[in-house]
Amino acid sequence: MHVYLPIAEISVDIFLLIGLGAAVGILSGVFGVGGGFLMTPLLMFIGVPPAVAVGSGANLLVATSITGVLAHWRRRSVDFKMGGVLLVGGVIGSTIGVFLFQKLQSIGQVDVVIGLSYVVFLGVIGSLMFFESVRSIARKRRGTAQRGKLHTHIWVHGLPFKMRFHKSRLYVSALLPLAVGAFVGLLAAIMGVGGGFIMVPAMIYLIGMPTSVVAGTSLFQILFVVMNVTLMQSWLNQTVDIILAVLMLVGSVVGVQLGTRLGNKLPGEQFRVLLAVLVLATCAGILFELVATPNFPYSITIQTGMK
């Protein structure tokens, strides 16, 4: 059964969209990631224009992140003050990102920029995740879990405008979360992702937040960033397809719950390796698209504006 997407202006099988949403939902339930990094390329692959894939993806992420934020809120694992600073950065970054996206689209370079961003970030994160989890499996086998240093002093701790974050038990420069938030916001607008896969490591290793509040706080920031992207993309570029987002949402709401239940039954470390492999495979697929000689190097863009 086909459905006509009024903004994407294509006709797509309804069950394909729901299935896609469910797959992304299961993934995010199992691994606790947003899944945007898989969703956006998949949408483009089925023929949704890149701009609409990014805009509607952000809209879908609003739904998945509110569910997560509420769950973490109940468990009191959100550092609202840290989240607030992060989201100020995020709103600035994502607003710049939406304008940059518009500019790149008008000169016809948006696809290649999206592609390259994916290759770089998925490649780096995937490899780090892979080695990290392989090492921790090996460590567990040997049974010699060693504790790292509690606080390592690096250059970022010398920055001015220090702020106290009680929940995270930190006293760090506000510039740090502001910059992290802005960078992730920029990526969110251009790549159509929440950016959790960048933010979580940045929060742990760069800002030094305790892992207990990382997931909730990053989701809190992501929620506002994707809301901002949805609003800006709708307002400036008209690239948010509500029908597309709602259909995928139906799948993802169910998928997340299934995934969460599935995730509790599965061995965590082994599954981290699997996620890393999945991330690296996506990266390789996109890289191949960029490097392989296209069978037809031409493409057309229609200016749909008033004539």
Partner: protein
């Protein structure tokens, strides 16, 4: 009296056909793109007196269209060269009677008049030596998307002058005003006969969504966020209880 009316009603279309040489109509003058739209097919039918060969052209609204070519830069393929065509039809369909096709006359007509999809006179904003290649690429891409098609030989014509042809529209058919023109081929040259308008428009819920997105983008954005927030909240709630 009744007899006279009958004769008259039979005569009117005949005289009409004779005066105009040709009379045509479409099975519908409107294609409505609704939520379930997955392409459409219209039937153009008519009658022409001289049983000449017939050419049918359906032309969609024109858009300014940019053609870009990917070139290898530092190992990756990047859009590098571009040519702007200020008005390229979003849809173009040509059909002709089998006669024209059989003896190859159609190719001559296409080439000489520029009526065939492959010969469309698209003008680049600034003509360079690249224009020709890029024009070809535009036509090729539109043909692959089934938006441009040369379908010679698909107009069925009966000895008494009744003709019909099916016009296929893909799911990506652009919205706008179309013109459907029937040409009679006289001495190897097409002469424009009857022309019929056709409108492709979005209707129902998908039209509403599209209009809202373009006319009230800020409100649209807020609605999009509100839907997602409530769906996410309800979803979480429903599964927490169970």
């Amino acid at each position: 009296m009744q007899m006279l009316a009958l004769i008259l009603s039979a005569l009117i279309p005949l005289t009409f056909a004779k005066a105009q040489q040709i009379a045509t109509d479409l099975s519908s003058h409107e294609i409505e793109i609704n939520a379930g739209f997955d392409g459409a097919e219209l039937l153009l039918f008519g009658h022409e007196g001289n049983t000449e060969d017939i050419l049918v052209i359906v032309k969609g609204p024109e858009f300014s269209t940019t053609v870009r070519r990917k070139e290898r830069v530092g190992g990756i393929w990047v859009n590098k060269t571009e040519v702007l065509f200020e008005s390229a039809p979003g849809f173009y369909f040509v059909a002709a009677t089998p006669n024209l096709n059989a003896d190859g006359r159609i190719e001559t007509i296409f080439a000489e008049t520029g009526l065939g999809a492959r010969y469309l006179g698209l003008n680049a904003k600034t003509e360079t030596n690249l224009s020709e290649t890029f024009r070809g690429a535009l036509i090729e891409l539109k043909t692959r998307a089934k938006l441009y098609s040369d379908s010679p030989g698909t107009v069925q014509i009966r000895p008494d002058g009744l003709f019909r042809v099916k016009i296929p529209f893909p799911a990506s058919t652009p919205v706008g005003t179309y013109s459907v023109t029937v040409y009679q081929v006289v001495d190897g040259w097409p002469v424009a006969g009857a022309s019929t308008p056709l409108a492709v428009r979005k209707v129902g819920f998908s039209a509403y969504v599209f209009d809202l997105a373009h006319n009230q983008p800020l409100i649209y954005g807020i609605i999009a966020i509100a839907i997602a927030l409530s769906a996410g909240w309800l979803g979480g709630l429903a599964f927490r209880r169970s």
